[in-house]
Structures are given as structure tokens and as C-alpha cells.
């Protein structure tokens, strides 16, 4: 089976990867990376406030969390055609698709992180007469940051899988498009070069998250 042309030699795939990286693969890689980073930023921007709201406010928790629980398990990739109609065939529909999948993990993790915060932190903050904004800035957000970083790490795999799927529709750039296009034109060496590029993108994303962790959660490493 290993003699099959469907599985080229690793040497040929790596050599091809190096050869086509600057001119061919890089534009696809950068397009995919930009979509994933935009989706992560969008999910954080929307998911973090919602998670904080449900974590800090019992009424909001009772109202919003059941909706989150209902929407969380729905296979949202099925909505790609709807998103394409609503937001066009470009980047927006792809970014929104990834966002509506990973946002739930951010909301639930943030909410649970706030619930798990010790009462003594709130008491200590109260004794310092902190305002609501100061409480979020000095206590809640730094305290739940390790959980948010873990949530981001867990969403990398899902994000790449959804990105790969979404780039197969109405895309001309993106590593998912490149891999599937190589497959369709029966160029397996290029297909494996694309898969290698996808793995390297994953590595890069994990490294970015590691850097964010060192920057914002240095206290966890002592």
C-alpha cells in the first residue's frame, strides 16, 4: 500500500513543501491564519463578556445559560450555506462559522472560571473598596486568564477542522482550499505539502497561545 502514488515519500513531500512554500503555500497559509486569528478574536470579544455576565450575575446565568446549552451541541457546520447567503462568499462567512463554534467553549469556560473564584478574593477586593471596573481589571480577568488560555488551546483543533471545511466552499485562498484542490487534480505530493503546512500552522497557533500564557499568566509558572 505504501508503494501507492496516493502516499508519496515523506522526502518528496518535504522537498516540495520547501520549494513551493514562499511563492505558493505562504499566501494560502497566511489567508487561513488570518481567518483563524480573526475568528478567535471575534469569539473572545463576544464570548468573554457573555461568560463574565453569566458568571457574575445569577439572573443572566439563569436566562442565558440554557440558551447556550441548547445551541452548543448543534452541528453548526451545517449552517455554512445559510452564513454564505447572509454574509457573502468571502471571509466573513468563514470567520463567523468558526466563531459560532468556538465561542461556546469561551462562554462556558469563562462562566465556570468566575464561579470557581474563591470568596476570599471578592472579600479582599471589597475591603479595598474597588469599583466594578477595578474588580474586573484587577481580580476577575487575571484570575480566569489561565482558563481562557486553556479554552483557546482546546479550540485550536476544532478551529482548524472547521476552517478546512469552510475553505472548500467559494474560496480561492486558504490552506484547506489548497489541500482539496491538490487532491482533485491528483497531485498528492502537493496535497501532503499542504497537510504539512496545516500542521505547521497549528504549531504556530499553539506557540502564540504559549506566549500569551507566559505574558498574562506568569504567576502560574512559579
Amino acid at each position: 500500500m505504501l508503494q501507492s502514488p496516493v502516499i508519496p515519500s515523506p522526502f518528496a513531500a518535504v522537498l516540495n513543501f520547501i520549494t513551493i512554500l514562499p511563492a505558493v503555500l505562504l499566501p494560502h497559509e497566511l489567508a487561513s491564519l488570518a481567518r483563524i486569528i480573526a475568528a478567535a478574536a471575534f469569539s473572545l470579544l463576544l464570548g468573554l463578556p457573555l461568560g463574565l455576565l453569566t458568571g457574575m450575575n445569577n439572573k443572566a446565568d439563569r436566562l442565558i445559560t440554557p440558551i447556550v446549552y441548547i445551541l452548543y451541541p448543534i452541528p453548526k457546520v451545517a449552517f455554512l450555506p445559510v452564513l454564505m447567503i447572509l454574509f457573502g462568499l468571502g471571509n466573513a462567512s468563514k470567520i463567523i462559522l468558526i466563531s459560532i463554534i468556538v465561542i461556546f467553549q469561551i462562554i462556558v469556560t469563562t462562566r465556570d472560571g468566575v464561579h470557581e473564584l474563591g470568596k476570599e478574593y471578592f472579600l479582599s477586593a471589597e475591603s479595598l473598596d474597588m469599583s466594578r471596573a477595578q474588580l474586573y481589571r484587577h481580580i476577575i480577568i487575571p484570575a480566569i486568564m489561565p482558563k481562557i488560555i486553556t479554552a483557546l488551546r482546546l479550540t485550536v483543533g476544532t478551529s482548524i477542522a472547521v476552517l478546512f471545511f469552510s475553505e472548500n466552499f467559494a474560496a480561492r485562498y486558504g490552506i484547506g482550499y489548497f489541500i482539496m484542490n491538490s487532491w482533485v487534480v491528483v497531485n498528492y505530493v502537493e496535497m501532503f505539502s499542504g497537510i504539512l503546512a496545516l500542521s505547521i500552522m497549528g504549531l504556530l497557533l499553539f506557540k502564540i497561545i504559549d506566549k500569551l500564557e507566559s505574558r498574562f499568566c506568569a504567576w502560574m509558572e512559579v
Partner: protein, 242 residues
């Protein structure tokens, strides 16, 4: 400085404080001692404005207490430090919250860390500190805000015997160098006698007895017979039935 009249606090159906009345003069120290669950921490939190009483009044510095008071500093039992802030930022936090200038914060924090002998720890996180060092940081954070009333909840309960004495000596030294009103909640008779000018012995939700401690302020008190006598006196009142 502190005048408490007929204070009553409950948690649901459980009465935590009942008919508490006491007075503490300005720049005096008062140790509140009693068994676990007698309501001494509740009394301290009520004095801090963290708990609202059901009945009764509290006057601090002549004004009725209606919430958190800016000039009251409180040191919580578990130090109340934030693990994600290093020593410098933990001490500076109260000043940042009050909107002090960077220069003022820098000057105050440097001075306090030097006085407490923890300047070399300024970049360390609480997880890297010993219990005694954490307590010094907690004291530093409170003193940085220049309180006129300092409330302490079991300041040395989590420390070993030697460190406990070091912290008690430090508290006395700080008090003598810049007197302020102090209320210390403790379950240690030795600590109450060493740090309390007035010693309040509590039973279940009530004050059993108030003792005056004429030997307060003597740094060598622990090695004197009078210390043992007053410790025995406090023990007698603690052992006495309701």
C-alpha cells in the same frame, strides 16, 4: 475611636452576634478572643463595613458606619493576597484603586517594603513566599493606605511558632512607631495578651468579659511572670460557662 452599641447579626436563623456593645479608644489596641464559631470574625467584618448589622449602631471616629470606610484597613485571615500580582503590585493595589499618582505609589510602596524588610521580594509572586512573608505583604498592603483603624483577622494563625512571634513583634513595633487603633481577632491567648491593650473574651455570639492589659507594649513581656498571670486570667474567662 470605635463605639459599638447593641449589635446584632444573623446568618439566616443562626444568631452570630447578639447585644454586642464595646468601646475602643483612639490609638488603642483591642484583641478579641474566643473559640471557633463564636462570632469574632463576624464582629471584625461588621466593623470593617463588610457585613451590615440587623440591629445596633457602630460609630468610628464619631461617624456612624454605613459601609466600607476608606481609612479602615483590614488584613484577612488568609492574607487576602492576589496570586497573579507580585509583591510590589499587591502592596500597590490599594493605592492604585484610590487613583494615587505613579510617583506617590512608587515612593510609598518602596518605603513600606523597606520598613517590613521585604524589599528583596518585590518581584516575587505570593506562591513563592513563606507564610511569614505573605503576612508581611498583607500588612504592607494595608499600611500603604495609611489607615487610622487596622483590623486583623487571626494575623498569625497559619504560621509556625517562631514566625508567629516574629509577626507579633513586628505588629507591636509598627504600632509603637506610628500608633493607630487596632482590633485583632485571634484564638491564641498568647497573641491576645501580647497585642491587646484591651482583651475582649467572647462566648457564643456574646461578649463574656473585657479585661484591661496594663502590660501591653512591653516587647519582653513574654518572658515575664505578669504575662503568664494575665494569660491564665484570660483562660479562666474562656473556660467559664456562658
Amino acid at each position: 475611636m470605635i463605639e459599638v452599641n447593641n449589635l446584632q447579626v444573623s446568618y439566616g436563623n443562626v444568631r452570630a452576634l447578639e447585644g454586642i456593645s464595646l468601646k475602643v479608644e483612639r490609638n488603642a489596641t483591642c484583641a478579641i478572643i474566643g473559640p471557633s464559631g463564636c462570632g469574632k470574625t463576624t464582629l471584625l467584618y461588621t466593623l470593617a463595613g463588610l457585613i451590615r448589622p440587623e440591629e445596633g449602631t457602630i460609630y468610628i471616629g464619631g461617624e456612624e458606619l454605613s459601609g466600607i470606610r476608606r481609612s479602615t484597613g483590614i488584613i484577612l485571615q488568609d492574607y487576602g493576597l492576589f496570586p497573579w500580582k507580585n509583591v510590589w503590585n499587591n502592596v500597590a493595589l490599594g493605592l492604585q484603586v484610590r487613583g494615587e499618582t505613579k510617583e506617590k505609589i512608587s515612593e510609598t510602596v518602596s518605603n513600606i517594603l523597606a520598613v517590613l524588610g521585604i524589599g528583596h521580594l518585590s518581584c516575587k509572586y505570593p506562591a513563592e513566599l513563606s507564610g511569614g512573608e505573605k503576612q508581611r505583604v498583607a500588612i504592607g498592603r494595608t499600611l500603604a493606605m495609611k489607615p487610622d483603624l487596622l483590623l486583623m483577622d487571626e494575623p498569625s494563625s497559619a504560621l509556625d511558632a517562631i514566625t508567629k512571634e516574629h509577626i507579633q513583634n513586628l505588629i507591636l513595633k509598627l504600632y509603637k512607631s506610628a500608633p493607630l487603633t487596632m482590633v485583632i481577632v485571634t484564638h491564641s491567648i498568647e497573641e491576645a495578651v501580647f497585642l491587646g491593650q484591651k482583651i475582649i473574651v467572647m462566648g457564643k455570639a456574646k461578649i463574656k468579659h473585657v479585661l484591661d492589659n496594663p502590660y501591653f507594649g512591653d516587647e519582653e513581656l513574654r518572658s515575664r511572670m505578669e504575662y503568664c498571670k494575665i494569660c491564665l486570667e484570660v483562660r479562666k474567662w474562656m473556660d467559664r460557662g456562658e
